[in-house]
């Protein structure tokens, strides 16, 4: 099945989200759709799936014009969307989730689960998805849950699959498997639209690439002949540097000294075991590892959000093992949390309130019991300008900002004060190239001014680009250490250490 979008324009009030967009999707082909957050990718795909109707332009399926009236029409016409956020019932089995809404039923509304399971198994085999139809969703890892989402659209006989940032939630190994599935779907004659802002992925998987910027198609090309730099420039509208500008490595005195740290997770199991390391002034220490190997718990213990079950943390020569979050913060510890939505910001608060979320009590913002809101406002506006947070007003709710701008807001709040140690967890997850570049340069700025920096990331490329020293965590322990100042880092060796293979 081929789908063509012709001259699609969609406006939301004064904002033109899509401006005269033309796009062709062909059967047996992976179309890579690249664009920054807010470039109009999602709007376009929502038009294609029938959720929005375009103000101008038309959609043609196999040359015939179609008009979608509502969200059900897209899938009825064979266009299925796999969302970035899964829509699954955790306590249902795979088969139950797949048939939800289109259940095969017999007499007296009898739910024919046997047929459903057989159909799910058939689809499974046909595309090599390898999902057990009887497994409960809540027991499955994220990568498998995503396959269930794919199963759902295949079960509804979709010929066109729209995958919205599918790799954002996957580990590197899962991405590999996922690409295998995408290829088998393509070879079976499905048309795939692969939406992402990760350049190397789009080059690897796509047969054809379209780049979207500001609601328009700004570039089109063949992945075989294009480079990441060309794509990035098309996407951002200016040349983007992938090399992080770093000053010379001048480590100073030890700021943070962790000795034999033990941390338990929520279930009282050992999450961090006997970890010792130190961070010096003017140094970036990268902590690499596949997610769930104790990095989150380590950071929580360092920042005071979790108790240390054993061991000792010294910061600026003081034992802070049992010191409160606020006191550590006051001593100059900055923390960019791994999940900004969960803990880094309050979506329902304004930008200016979020800008002082953990500094509101300081003398510059408070006098007596009252907060000096005029001062907060002025400062917040200045922070927003300094950190390029793009918003019409600081009175806007933080939840209305795009992901990149939210993250810049969080980073601004953490870095715009006297800091000694910056702890950044997944500082650029889910962000576009422009924002990543900006946040990296700010983190490096902190390093060059003499701060110690800890970066935790599951993106190995990010760790390698930024770190002066790399620690690899596996199963709660630091299993390897690499020095970037001595010579180029060996990506392969780090990858092996992340997988638990000790040299």
């Amino acid at each position: 099945m081929d789908v063509e979008l012709r001259g699609i324009t969609k406006r939301f009030g004064p904002v033109t989200a899509n401006d005269n967009v033309n796009l062709t999707i062909r059967a047996g082909e992976v179309l890579g759709l690249l664009g920054e957050n807010g470039a109009g990718k999602s709007t376009m795909m929502n038009i294609l799936s029938g959720l929005y109707s375009p103000d101008e332009g038309e959609i043609l399926i196999d040359g015939k014009r179609v008009d979608f009236e509502g969200p059900g029409d897209g899938i009825a016409a064979g266009i299925g969307m796999v969302h970035q956020h899964f829509m699954l019932v955790p306590v249902f089995t795979v088969a139950e989730n797949v048939i939800l809404g289109v259940e095969p039923t017999g007499m007296f509304d009898y739910l024919d689960l046997a047929t459903a399971r057989k159909q799910v198994r058939d689809i499974n085999e046909k595309y090599g998805l390898q999902v057990n139809p009887d497994a409960l969703i809540e027991d499955l890892p994220v990568g498998i849950q995503q396959r269930v989402e794919i199963l759902k659209v295949l079960f509804r006989s979709a010929e066109v699959l729209i995958l919205d940032e599918p790799t954002a939630v996957l580990t590197p190994q899962e991405v590999e498997d996922f690409f295998g599935i995408v290829k088998s779907l393509r070879d079976a004659g499905k048309a795939i639209v692969f939406i992402t802002h990760k350049l190397h992925e789009i080059l690897e998987i796509s047969d054809r690439i379209n780049v979207l910027r500001g609601g328009r198609i700004t570039g089109e090309g063949d992945p075989k002949s294009m480079t990441e730099n060309q794509l990035a420039e098309m996407m951002v509208g200016r040349p983007v540097s992938f090399d992080v500008d770093k000053g010379p490595f001048k480590p100073g005195e030890t700021l943070l000294d962790v000795k034999n740290l033990m941390v338990l997770n929520e279930n009282d199991e050992t999450a961090v075991e006997n970890v010792s390391f130190h961070v010096r002034s003017g140094e970036v220490v990268g902590i690499a590892g596949v997610q769930g190997n104790g990095q989150s718990e380590l950071i929580e213990a360092l920042t005071g959000l979790a108790h240390a079950a054993g061991g000792k943390i010294d910061f600026l020569g003081r034992d802070i093992t049992n010191v409160s979050v606020r006191e550590r913060h006051r001593m100059g510890m900055a923390h960019v949390p791994e999940d900004r939505h969960k803990s880094g910001m309050i979506s329902n608060f304004t930008i200016y309130e979020n800008m002082v979320l953990n500094t509101y009590y300081e003398d510059r913002f408070s006098s007596g019991p009252a907060i000096k809101w005029p001062d907060v406002l002025k400062t917040a506006a200045q922070y927003a300008v300094d950190f390029d947070v793009r918003t019409p007003s600081v009175y806007l709710k933080a939840g209305n900002l795009s992901g990149g701008n939210q993250q810049k807001m969080v980073v601004a709040r953490e870095l715009e004060r006297e800091t000694k140690l910056v702890i950044a967890s997944q500082p650029t997850r889910g962000l576009d190239v422009g924002s990543i570049e900006y946040i990296h340069s700010r983190l490096m700025g902190a390093r060059d001014e003499g701060d110690g920096v800890i970066i935790v990331s599951s993106e190995l490329d990010e760790i390698m680009a930024l770190s002066d020293r790399v620690l690899v965590m596996y199963d709660g322990k630091i299993v390897a250490e690499f020095d970037a100042t001595a010579g180029p880092l060996d990506k392969n060796a780090i990858g092996l250490a992340m997988a638990g293979v000790t040299a």
């Binding site: 939301f12 009030g13 929005y52 109707s53 005071g304 959000l305 409160s324 979050v325 606020r326 913060h329 923390h335 949390p337 969960k342 803990s343 880094g344 910001m345 309050i346 979506s347 329902n348 608060f349 309130e353 979320l357 953990n358 509101y360 009590y361 408070s366 019991p369 009252a370 907060i371 809101w373 406002l377 002025k378 917040a380 506006a381 200045q382 927003a384 300008v385 918003t391 019409p392 007003s393 600081v394 009175y395 806007l396």
Partner: protein, 376 residues
Amino acid sequence: MTDTTSQSNLADKLLQRAAPGRAEFEDLVVVPIFAVIVALIVGALIMLATAVDIETIGRSYLALLQGSVGSMNAISETLTSAIPLVLAGLGLALGFRAGLFNIGAEGQIVVGGIAAVIVGFSFPNMPWIIHMPLALLAGAVAGGLYASIAGYLRAATGAHEVITTIMLNLSSYLLLSYMLGLEWMQRPGRSDPVSKSVLPSAELPRLLTDIDPNLRLHAGIFVMIAAVILVHWLLFKTRTGFEYRASGENPDAARYAGMHASAIIVFAMATAGALAGLAGANQVLGVLERATPGFSSGIGFDAISVALLGRSHPVGVLFAGLLFGALEAGGRQMQVDAGVSIDLISIIQALIIVFIAAPLLVRAIFPWGFKKPAGR
């Protein structure tokens, strides 16, 4: 040089507040107004269905209007009824903002009332300038302490405040019955459970007796206005309020920001309880001048509706409390004039809450009152 000026211009631009959105206006003003209208219409339908003739229905709504705002006495009654609703509603709103679903205003009112009555009859010869504030304070402190039991249980053990406050409500009724039978508490010469009368020096003086000795409006209205201002200031201008709101919106972010979750829960509950206790003190010192069984008369539960209707905003709570006060005062008139039971007022109050809680329903009934949703 030019760079810094353009930078500061940019910052100035960010300081401009966007014009209040149409959606916000609809949410805060249009939906409540329509909700009241629909509730009144459904109320009329209910009367119709129970074989009340149209003329009586007309008469009863007229009485509702007259009894709430139709005369000096009506306005005085409306305000008198509104005072405890607003005070307790403010407390609940504050709790909601901090993420605490406090159902216990009723119990806090009872306990606050008991404390205020005891102080009110215990200190003869005390000048009113000390005695009255002391009695009010006693009510606030008792309500606050009583609520903080639930707060402490939540913070220390995780016991949910909905359960504990409901239990504390029940306990408070029994405490009241018990105490009204105590020798030093009971009015001499009475066998039924009635407390001693509050001394004149502790009473909240009536304000309009010069115009008509029957007007019951009392000085509690100043307490109410002060409380609205104070709660607004506390919630939106202070560090404490910022902490309350942050932990109500996102407890994880509050913890990340170094706020003390347990302390916030206990303090927010105590503040909420103090306001409810003040409402109880207000009833016994301003209206009843003694404590009787059931003197709280469900104010604590109506206050939940008031807080919800007022969207947990102090000013909203003030208006919602005035509306509920008007319905109550008007309802009494309605019962007298048209013979329609005052229970209908409870039905109308409940319907208002139903419609407020279901804005989509209101939008569906009055499509022309709202802007078309963006998107399609």
